[in-house]
């Protein structure tokens, strides 16, 4: 028998050479995106406003504080349950302004259209964009149109930029979280990402999952009426709740502890994630926000959120701590604790 015994060979692949091209993962909102920003964009445009890396820039002009932001929308398919690229293009930019505490005022809208797109489709998107802008109380005051050859775009890309006014006394930034602060989440997570994925992949569920896309500025205004001392607001879009909290933990140099049982997830989203091997903590939202607030006002802010239609299922989901700066941890359903990391690229469905 002895001759059958043998040891393992020690062998393992070498790392790939330094990254030489842009991969899809660079657009996932995870670590690869952060690397691209750090290595390519920040060095080129270095300035103190950009360096804050918030969802919007807040600039002062003659005593007037303006929030300015831009966002591009490349969703496939263009129409999905609960919304479409047009409404998303308004909500995304309005929400980036709202996360700075701003009242959104003006939008630009630029359309990059692939040759062959049906005019009927374009008209539907534009009508939806107009309706979303009207509902959000913003005016589209400038725009642009480009057409690219067939094969150079995915039907339609939209870019919107937004301008808003920031009230006095409001200072919201990802570097403002302090140990002891409480973390509030405005509602259930994961609906947008799963709705779009299901539509794209032709997956059907017993209870249809609808995107949560919505403008959050009136919810923010309601919260700011309770207190101007909210430290930080983020909308957990691509990369989900975990990426947003990891950014805050890194920028504020604090630790964050979440309680898994406090995070609201709809049953149907949970089910879809179980089947697909995805973690709802990393799935995109388009109508939710995270607020980091002082413990003394947390209850009052939470109560105000729950009075608002977009905050009815708001929850206190965790706290900021001085332990493990830069790390986000989760108290699991079993009462144990683990790290919630930022993904490097897109969340990949597991094989089995």
């Amino acid at each position: 028998m002895k001759d059958r015994k043998r040891d393992f060979q020690l062998s393992c692949p070498l790392p790939l050479p330094a990254r030489d091209m842009v991969l899809l993962g660079h657009g996932s909102g995870g670590k690869l995106t952060a690397e691209l920003i750090r290595d390519v964009f920040l060095p080129a445009f270095s300035n103190p406003i950009l360096a804050r890396l918030d969802d919007q820039a807040v600039v002062s002009l003659n005593g007037l504080r303006l929030a300015f932001t831009t966002d591009s929308f490349v969703v496939s398919p263009l129409f999905f349950p609960g919304g479409d690229i047009g409404s998303l293009a308004v909500h995304g930019t309005v929400n980036d302004l709202a996360m700075g505490g701003a009242e959104p005022l003006f939008l630009s809208a630029a359309f990059i259209i692939e040759e062959g797109l049906s005019l009927e489709t374009l008209a539907r998107v534009v009508a939806s964009l107009r309706q979303a802008a009207t509902e959000a109380g913003v005016t589209v005051v400038t725009g642009d149109t480009k057409v690219v050859e067939r094969g150079s775009g995915d039907g339609l890309f939209i870019n919107t930029s937004g301008l808003g006014r920031v009230p006095d006394g409001v200072l919201l930034s990802a570097d403002q979280a302090r140990p002891g602060d409480q973390i509030l989440l405005s509602g259930t997570i994961g609906e947008h990402g799963i709705a779009v994925l299901a539509q794209r992949e032709g997956l059907e569920f017993d209870i249809p999952i609808v995107s949560d896309t919505a403008p959050l500025h009136t919810l923010v205004a309601t919260m700011l009426e309770v207190t101007r001392t909210i430290h930080c607001l983020r909308d957990p879009t691509r990369g989900g709740l975990s990426s947003a909290l990891n950014e805050i933990a890194a920028r504020s140099r604090v630790g964050i502890e979440m309680d898994e049982r406090a995070i609201p997830v709809r049953e149907e989203v949970k089910g879809a994630c179980e089947v697909l091997g995805l973690d709802p903590l990393y799935v995109a939202n388009e109508g939710k926000l995270i607020a980091i607030v002082e413990a003394s006002v947390a209850e009052a802010v939470l109560a105000a959120m729950r009075q608002h239609p977009l905050g009815r299922r708001a929850q206190l989901i965790g706290r900021v701590t001085d332990a493990h700066p830069g790390l986000v941890t989760l108290r699991t359903a079993l009462g144990t604790s683990r790290i919630v990391d930022m993904l490097s690229g897109d969340q990949l469905p597991r094989i089995c």
Partner: protein, 370 residues
């Protein structure tokens, strides 16, 4: 969620942990075979709950991790061809080959698609007419029946543009290799519940008898794993070495006979190289000669391609349970999910990636202590 939350109940978990603690009188080293089980152990930090006498080591059951380098290289070669649509499960796309990975092939213009099942690949082949569609058929006995079925259906439908790049691996030969190794430390195994759902657990009874080692077929939820650990500890403490089935809601002794039959009809057992471990006799599946028309390696003339993996990382020791990922000097430093040195850092089910994502901090402390 019904049928999920019941298996994540803190109260029952604590009761099982207390039961394990009452039974343990000395240290035991246990291995969970399957990467899905490793993932759950890390995701719920179950090792935090266990008495220190129970050491869990992580087995070679991550299909992504053990797919050999030359197969990844072959996948890249096929996917780079302009006349091919290459179809794969998502987590194979990031696995590094010798010089590239499938994500890069896609970024460079290759037609690489992610699907959830080989049936999706078959549908693509039907829709594409002449264009060749190649499905990356990797995995254990769990994924093999569905892949076999796709070949069967392709033949029934007379599809000429569909083929598989096959790199299936089998669990029992890998367990045998572990048990025959002079360095083996593992005293009890949690057998992979999904594999046993297909195969049953007769094969494990032979291993258990021959090596006098207890085996418990375990599920994938936290309570499944705690119960499986409790059953293993009971066997070890009582001096028993048997095969027991914890995952009774899914696994029967004989397994899924129709699934086994379709596998046997399409595939035959062959020797197979495992990434990080090396060749294991009779540990793989390949297409039977009558199905060579569906064998992408033959279609594209890649049968003889081979690749050697330089000795760089300690994945073999990790996969063998000799070392924890954190005991690797490169862990979290030169080797991260963004820049994986070895396959176990790539897949969500890989032991190194599971440690990195869920336990980095606690792991760092243990690593220093070790």
């Amino acid at each position: 969620m019904k049928y999920i939350d019941e298996y994540r109940d803190e109260r029952i978990a604590r009761a099982l942990v207390a039961q394990i603690a009452r039974q343990v009188t000395r240290p035991w080293v246990l291995m969970e075979i399957c990467g899905g089980q490793t993932h759950t152990l890390m995701r719920y930090a179950i090792d935090e709950l266990l008495p220190p006498a129970i050491e869990l080591v992580h087995g070679p059951g991550c299909p992504v991790c053990v797919t050999p380098l030359e197969i990844v290289d072959k996948a890249i070669a096929i996917a780079s061809r302009p006349d091919v649509t290459f179809v794969s499960y998502g987590d194979m796309l990031r696995v590094p080959g010798s010089r590239s990975d499938l994500f890069r092939v896609k970024a460079s213009g290759g037609d690489v698609r992610v699907v959830y099942s080989p049936t999706d690949a078959l549908r693509l082949a039907r829709a594409q007419g002449e264009r060749r569609v190649v499905f990356f058929a990797i995995g254990f006995e769990t994924t093999a029946p569905a892949n076999a079925m796709a070949v069967w259906e392709a033949r029934q439908a007379g599809l000429k543009n569909f083929s598989l790049l096959v790199s299936h691996v089998l669990v029992p030969p890998a367990i045998r290799l572990l048990l025959e190794s002079p360095h083996n430390r593992v005293q009890g195994f949690i057998a992979p519940g999904h594999v046993c759902t297909v195969m049953g657990y007769r094969e494990y009874e032979a291993l258990s008898r021959e090596f006098r080692v207890p085996v418990v077929v375990g599920g994938f939820e936290p309570l499944d794993l705690l119960e499986a650990i409790a059953m293993l500890v009971a066997q070890l403490e009582e001096g028993r070495a048997e095969v027991e089935n914890q995952y009774v809601r899914s696994v029967t002794c004989e397994g899924n006979r129709p699934a086994q039959q379709v596998m046997e009809r399409i595939f035959e057992v062959c020797d197979r190289k495992w990434r990080g471990i090396g060749p294991i006799p009779q540990s793989g599946l390949r297409l039977r000669p009558e199905f060579t028309a569906y064998d992408a390696e033959k279609i594209f003339g890649l049968e003889d391609a081979s690749a050697e993996e330089p000795a760089e990382c300690i994945s073999a020791e990790v996969l063998q349970g000799l070392k924890k990922p954190v005991q690797c000097p490169a862990f979290g430093q030169r080797c991260t999910p963004e820049n994986p040195l070895g396959a176990p850092m790539v897949s969500a089910e890989g032991a190194c990636a599971a440690y990195y994502h869920y336990r980095r901090q606690a792991a760092a402390t243990q690593g220093r202590a070790a």
